[in-house]
Amino acid sequence: MSASIPPASRSFSFNLSSVYSRFSPRVGEVTLSRSEDSKIAIPTPGLLVSTSRGVVPHLSRDHNRKAQPIRWVHVPFETFLEHKPPVPTLQGGEHPLHRFLGYSPEKQVISSSLRDPYDGREVPPNGNNFLSANCVRGVHKVTPDEWRSYTLLCKPDIVMALTDIPFTPPPYSQKRITKSIERSCAWLVNLLRPIDGHHPLNVFVQMAGGTVIPARKAFADTLMEPLYAKDAEMVKPLPRLDEGIAGYAFDLVPLSLSLPVPSPEEVIALFQTSLSPLSIDKPRLVNSVSSPHEILALIRDVGIDLFDAHWVQRAADVGVALDFTFPAVSKDETRSEKLRLGHNLYDHVYADDFSLLDNSPFDGERVCPCMSCSPSSPDTLILHSSVDEPLQGNQTSSPLPGFTNAYLHHLLHTHEMSAHTLLVMHNLTVLDMFFEGVRKTIASDELDFNAEVDRFMEVYDGTLGVLDDARIMWTEVEMARGKGRLAREKVKQSETSSLEITVSA
């Protein structure tokens, strides 16, 4: 089977290392090889980082390169539609999208979809030969040919095929859903057309079918069916669409906008339906999770491998420093309430709290390695004249004290941007460490993953009340000043479709 797949597409591979069944938790590794010597390894279950307008919000390039957790970034392309042609297509070179956006080809994987998976705002309906996409200038129609051409010009490492997910008011008729399946397959076929007989693209497909079980099954079945006639001709030598697919993606936002909204159990059933006919050892990615409880349930019940970090990044936007580990800390039996997942640093209790953001040391003693808790000295200084003095030896080697809760509290109340820079780095690191704990637990003989999941949900509050509190105080600070920023943040908040779903036990 693998001999029929051209070597160019072997740049992406996914290997599972633990024992697994179709929907069980599993430990694996995504590898992207750029050459014999240049490989990026992303252990799973793991995270991918969300971007806005192509950048990880609040981070400058030197930060996003140095940050351990930032191995895979997801770039929704629609933001670039403001300009015709989209500006990244003008970059040229070996890794145009990396270069344009400032990511490191050596260390970072870029995936790209046309639409932002988190954006649930209403857009005009898609057509047979186009998809409605949103950019700052309004809605643009993008054809499958255009998407393919943008992908070939910008060269993201992984591309999401166009999927016809309606963002019009529900409910959707059977006709609409059937169309959605047909279009999504047609658009996938278009993307999988070979280039000089090769299939160099690493394609992920967003599962179509919405909240309708038979539709989900139909879509997944179509991916696995042998191709005939025109379709086979278009994508040869792929015998079926699944051969050209590197991974499967699932979007929670459209489900949360459906009528009725599916329950957590129903969501699991929908995902399992999609996965049942598909290849068991291809990576599974879920977009728009909103809590670690949801993540754990999806790992436990569906065997999901990759999750976006959008929610931890947004927590940083509203001043929340996340603070949870897996396995969970021991439960404090003297307290009846569950632990909050993080700290609302707007709260005045932090005004003179000089401890670090990191309250739960990992592995017992290790301080959080993020840029806020463990800042590092610059390696060199820019010297502007011949009389300027370079860094003295002791200035490079000495470790620097971490930023305190009191300082972050101050930055948040004085509306300083660096608060969010530090919090994003910290939150991504907390999430990264969480996944490290998850992988260790799944792989371990001594620890029982399911039992640890139950315990985690016992210890921590899955309703994320801390975010609600923080948002209120964030709004107060915004009202006090920051007129321009308020307008932009309003747009961001409106994208937050009411994610009522929490997939928890």
Partner: protein, 414 residues
Amino acid sequence: MQFEIIAKCHTTRARVSRMKLAHGVTMLPTFMPVATQAAIKGLTPQQVEALGITLILNNTYHLNLRPGINVLDQAGGAHQFQGWRRNLLTDSGGFQLVSLSKFTTITEEGALFQSPFTGEPTMLTPEESISIQHSIGADIIMQLDDVVSSLTIGPRVAEAMERSVRWLDRCIAHHEKSGKKSTQNLFAIVQGGLDPTLRDQCLDAMIQRQDGVAGYAIGGLSGGEEKDIFWRVIKQCADKLPEERPRYSMGIGFAEDLLVCVALGVDMADCVFPTRTARFGVALTHTGPINLKLSKYGNDMNPIDSSCPCPTCTDGTSRAFLHHIVTHETAAAHAVTLHNLVFQAQVMGRARDAIVAGTFPDYLRSFFASYFGEAGYPEWCVNALRSVGVDLLEGTSNVKLIPGSGAKWEYATS
């Protein structure tokens, strides 16, 4: 403080000196970025240090309100609080009292102002200002001065100048009593508005007190006065102030202003301009400012300046990319701020090198030619530099002279 002049320009009054403070060495002349509320907006202290910046400014008025002296004391001072391990300068809070407070009354005792958060009237005395600056722990602290706008005329100007001298005495006394003199250095602020006689009186009085102060600031300017008058006041002060004390012009940030001040004998300046303009999408370059919001940059794949050593430019960050994110993403503010800070540092660094090499007049000429070019030179700069023996127009032909500020800007049609 150890202050040592290591080179002097043979034509102008510029000099290069080495200033050693409790948190390390700062080479002068230098530009000081402003970290108003204990942060250079959007950047971490490690990022700022990596740019080769050794001295930044914190704002006493703001820090006294938030986080407040209690928190700063518990933190062990502003250096520890914000994670900045190099030199720090605080102003006295005097300027903000006037510019920010809706209701300020100045009396001999001090300034009575209304807190913007609680509305309570609070008194800021010279002693109190120095105490707050002691808690902040800056390496250079400023006297509390009686600040009037540079556009004020009449007896108020003289009153303010005379009171500033009396308040200087109180600041000196309070500082000496505190035992902090060995780690924190007090600067006086010369006032007197735009009146040469008043300035002269102030200079005489404050120079008499030179044993009590480590340096002198030239205050009461940058309030919208005519640039052609501004430089004359700077020159008058710099001519008279002792050579062996650093001179600090407050609120100066445009490149041309900085270089003129350096030529007149100034060693330090601070301003929010480069960082603020960065957040609004304007990148400063040696050929003038570029407004990245303009659509002409929408597909310009060049960096801001391919020879700039800042992290943004060395990474090849394109103007097109910055155009896409500027004013939308904080990352754009960070990228352009990093660049603008390095630009300012480069302007001053090249000045230092030129002064040491004896080529400072050539540097001035080539800077102005490159920065202003055909847009025309500000006439006041030509006048100011002529007063210290540099003819900016030498070697040029048909350079327009622009009256007024002559500052260069970029518009959609330019």
